[in-house]
């Protein structure tokens, strides 16, 4: 017994060392990527680099936020099957402070950028905007003056601080309650989690909504859509579910989830993923359809711009590849239970989620003609930002993962989850 014990310990130790080595590499790559991106902001086409960084940031943040919402939903529904997959999600919420830090760098960059170099146009009164087909400055824009009580630098800064405060605060409480339950097996932690989830889902819903309005919708501050926050939420949920599949399968690969994460869990995630695929399409369709049908120029231009140049093909790609392909794929039972197929569709969904963010963010900068200044394309700086932020996220995840048990061993529903059948 003692020999097998030491054997296990030794393999645990080597595993941990390998994990730490991996985390360190991720940190190095992430740091290098971020430094390059910073260089790009200073020497490159700065609005393009800034928008690319925002895309990378929202991509990784949306995964974290989606997982955070899923954790809260699992607690609120007292879900049984999901306990084993909840733990990796809890680790993923450790990325919030780092994302926040990078976000503030981007924010300061946009605040202090020279004229027309920032990404949120309204931040500088000398920036150019198109008002009724004519170029003007933000200062001369009546629409800006109407909105300036909300869209001003100080308030924007405070709000961003508040959003990250909510994300980090609630996620930390939920995470540490779950970690502490591993130690003492006290059912009271579950009650703590449920209460904070109830509060968190309301706070988080509002914070994520206004965050998406501030960070993405206000890039083109003339435009508005009441459903925009729900669009962001639906995309985040899809990204989070896809990332969960990838992470869980990787954990099976490295060993800690072997025999823990089973076909039945994969199937459940597949089902939820199908549901949110439909939900995303529903929200995206509602927004497009209502704007298309009413055809009011003050909001229609947003979509008209996104049919300009190669953005037209991006829009179609979203319709067919971000909805139809995953929808039809996930309809079939066999596709939801085979790890290889689920891995494929998860990577697919993440790729098109990224494209969806491009579609929403990148055309925001207008040329003097009013058409999008940038056509769709992936620049070198997009890659550095994506890899840089991603590296930091992976590092934060692995660091947290190595410090805890792979599954919440004392969660009241852990056996239900381990013994889950379809």
């Amino acid at each position: 017994m003692s020999t097998s014990g030491t054997k296990e310990n030794r393999s645990d130790d080597t595993r941990k060392a390998a994990g730490e080595g991996f985390a360190f590499k991720a940190l190095l790559i992430g740091g290098a990527g971020l430094l390059l991106t910073l260089l790009g902001l200073l020497v490159g086409d700065s609005p393009r680099v800034g928008l690319g960084t925002l895309i990378g940031l929202t991509f990784w943040l949306s995964i974290g936020l989606g997982m955070w919402f899923l954790i809260m939903l699992f607690h609120l529904f007292d879900a049984g099957w999901s306990t084993v997959v909840r733990r990796p999600m809890e680790h993923a919420t450790t990325i919030f402070p780092w994302i926040g830090a990078v976000f503030f760098v981007l924010l300061f960059f946009s605040l202090f950028a020279s004229v027309d170099d920032g990404i949120w146009k309204w931040m500088n009164e000398d920036n150019t905007v198109i008002v009724a087909g004519e170029t003007a400055t933000v200062e001369e824009d009546v629409l800006y003056h109407h909105k300036s009580a909300y869209l001003n630098n100080a308030f924007f800064f405070l709000r961003t601080l508040l959003y990250f405060g909510i994300f980090i605060g609630v996620a930390t409480i939920l995470r540490s309650a779950s970690f502490r339950q591993d130690g003492d097996g006290d059912g009271a932690w579950t009650t703590v989690c449920r209460k904070w989830s109830a509060a968190g889902i309301i706070l988080g819903g509002l914070a994520a909504t206004f965050a998406s309005l501030d960070w993405i919708m206000s890039l083109e501050f003339h435009w508005f859509s009441t459903i925009f926050g729900v669009w962001f939420f639906s995309g985040a949920m899809r990204a989070a579910l896809a990332a969960t599949v990838i992470v869980c399968l990787l954990l099976v690969y490295v060993g800690s989830f072997r025999g823990v994460f089973k076909q039945s869990h994969l199937y459940e995630i597949g089902r939820v993923s199908l549901a949110f695929t439909i939900f995303w399409a529903y929200i995206a369709f509602s927004q497009y359809f209502l704007i298309w049908n009413a055809n009011i120029p003050e909001v229609t231009y947003w979509y008209v711009n996104r049919e300009y140049g190669n953005w037209w093909w991006v829009g179609l790609a979203l319709l067919f590849c971000h909805f139809f392909v995953p929808f039809l794929f996930l309809l079939f039972y066999q596709n939801k239970i085979r790890p290889g197929r689920m891995l494929f569709i998860s990577i697919w969904i993440l790729a098109f989620h990224l494209l969806d963010l491009y579609f929403n963010i990148l055309p925001a900068k207008h040329a003097e003609s009013g058409w999008p200044y940038y056509s769709f394309g992936v620049s070198f700086w997009d890659v550095t930002a994506f890899v840089g932020i991603g590296g930091i996220c992976v590092w934060a995840f692995v660091k947290s993962y190595l410090s805890q048990k792979p599954i919440p061993i004392r969660d009241p529903r852990i056996l239900e989850s381990l013994n889950h059948h379809e």
């Binding site: 369709f285 497009y288 359809f289 049908n293 055809n295 039972y333 059948h421």
Partner: protein, 178 residues
């Protein structure tokens, strides 16, 4: 001779667990024409009986596809081909405005497909069935569980089947009239 008129054998069980374990054994004996009668769907019985996944989804898919494309075609024919007229500055045909109705028709015909598929695969309605002649089997819709082995099964032989049903815990093993 008289035995050939019999439909088969029926045995009673008291709990879902008992009937499921018994079903596993009947399956392992290699019987093909047999059935389990339960008041509610017993979880895990599909595997215990060795049934394949139901084929109802195929009917659903066919119904849904007919609904969606039929709807689109109908709207195109009515509003853009047979009697084109401009309304509200909208195009004669666009998948956008045709979507809501086609969507509803998808759901409607998929639901029809599902229900038709279920009835066809189950051979229902069938108001006469030998199992329903058995007095006690009325309790199958209340709180009792039964296993029926049909005489058409190639492995069926009254004596051995009776002993087997008793061995696996069946009570009141009796013959069913056809």
């Amino acid at each position: 001779m008289s035995q050939e008129k019999k439909y088969g054998l029926i045995a009673e069980f008291e709990t879902p667990g008992a009937v499921m374990h018994a079903a596993e054994k009947v399956r392992d004996e290699g019987f093909k024409h047999w059935d389990v009668i339960t008041p509610f769907p017993v979880h895990g019985m599909d595997q215990a009986m060795g049934l394949n996944r139901s084929r109802v989804p195929l009917f659903t898919l066919v119904g849904g596809a007919i609904g969606f494309f039929g709807g689109m075609l109908m709207i195109w024919y009515m509003n853009a081909y047979d009697y084109p007229i401009v309304v509200g500055g909208k195009p004669m045909f666009s998948p956008m405005y045709a979507f809501p109705v086609s969507y509803e028709l998808t759901i409607l015909l998929a639901a029809f497909g599902t229900i038709i598929g279920m009835f066809l695969l189950n051979r229902l309605p069938m108001h006469y069935h030998p199992a329903m002649k058995h007095e006690a089997v009325a309790r199958a819709s209340d709180d009792r569980f039964y296993i029926i082995i049909e005489s058409t099964d190639p492995r069926f032989e009254v004596k051995t089947a009776t002993t087997m049903l008793k061995e696996i815990g069946g009570q009141n093993v009796t013959q069913l009239e056809d």
